[in-house]
Amino acid sequence: MENRTEQPAQPRKRELLMWILSGGLFGMAASILYPLFAYLKPPRLGEVETSSVKAGKVDDFQVDSGQIIKFGTKPVLLVRTPNDEFRAFSAVCTHLDCTVQYRREKGVIWCACHNGTYDLTGRNIGGPPPRPLDEFRVVIQGEEVLISKKA
């Protein structure tokens, strides 16, 4: 009689213990792994949002030439076109993140990494780039060339 009452209680006890133990182990693993993976993720650096920069004086830039300007942490390509217009584009190639340059002989913006080309409106016209370069606004204020983000 005693045996019959004890027998069914045992497996339940065992099951409960299993739950407590494996739950504890799981909790421990989680409490170790969560900080570990959180640590691996680099924190966001408080970047100062740049909205416009002074590129320099108009005379600093020759007609039919291009120059990389620091726009916050990103490079911007300022081009003074053969017809004396100022244009600015993100210098980051839309293909694989290389930095583009102005190529005078061909009158195009060119990426040396994979031979991508853009025309002087930033449109991708040759090679692998999938989309145009992001354009920036250029304002001439007296003698100063100002570059700002397009709204």
Binding site: P35, L36, A38, Y39, L40, K41, P43
Partner: protein, 359 residues
Amino acid sequence: MKKRLNILYEWVNDRVHLEDLVEFLGKKYVPVHSHSVWYYFGGVSLFLFIIQVVTGILLLLYYKGSEELAFESIKFIMSKVAFGWLIRSVHSWAANLFVLAAMIHMFSVYFTKAYRKPREITWLTGMLMFFLVLGFGFSGYLLPWNELAFFATKVGTDIAGVIPVIGKPIMVFLRGGEDVTGATLSRFFGFHVAVFPGIFTVLLGIHLILVQRQGMSEPLHIERGGGSGGKTMPFFPNFLLRDLLLWLIVLNLLAILAVFFPWELGQKADAFAPAPAGIKPEWYFMFMFQTLKYIPAKLWIIDGEVFGIMLFSIAGLLWTLVPFWDAKSARGEKSRRIIYIGIFVVMYIIALTILGWLS
């Protein structure tokens, strides 16, 4: 699942004959007697070493080993990186527990004379690892490039410099120049994360293989009294599970220490600032530091410092070579002298450490 694992096991076994290893592990027994508790401290040291490797690699993801950036990068880890404070605190605390566990392991091996024939090589590799652990501690201490570390390194390397003839070149080598500068930091960083871990891993490999191959030593008096009467415990899984349980306890202790007593960063080192008042070395160097304070400036014709350093060097060397001059234990005879020496060393270290903390 089990079937898959079996297939995987068979696949590997087919190529590298795992059954030999499994059979070996199945036959491995750990003696059970009144001093069995000491068998666990080697395992605890190993566990703390693993913790150091893991947290050390994590710290390397953000640490910058240069004079200008070291302090700032640790500040960054502690304030900006998610759980960075925890990782750094665990690394610092585990370092101290590691030294402590290694010390307990060393002294327990000494007092039970487990170094005696045929385990001399195990003892030697263990001692070399112990000196490396102190080297890890000393080199790692400088890496945050804070005030305390800066002066501790100045003093520590200067002490190496007082050894006659070879001291000066050693000091210049350690410092990467005449003074403690960014060059010293670069060197210590290299030692700490590349040179020492490399050597340590080789020694650890030899040490562990020897322990597996020769099995656990039994204390002399138990062996002479007819051994543990054949009372043993299977290594797998009984001893291993106990090992793991203790590791879990150590991990919890570590977590409590790291969370409730976070390691401080202090002030950034400034080569043109005076040493802060009350500056002290890490606790495991304290007894040597304190001894040097008591030795008079001049002993007959030798400088007090030189005398002290030579004394510690010779003592350390004799300690390391104990399996070779303790002939009695090697023959399986009782050797009281060894016990008295050991007790004296332990008492001396404890007394001088306390005196150092009080002063």
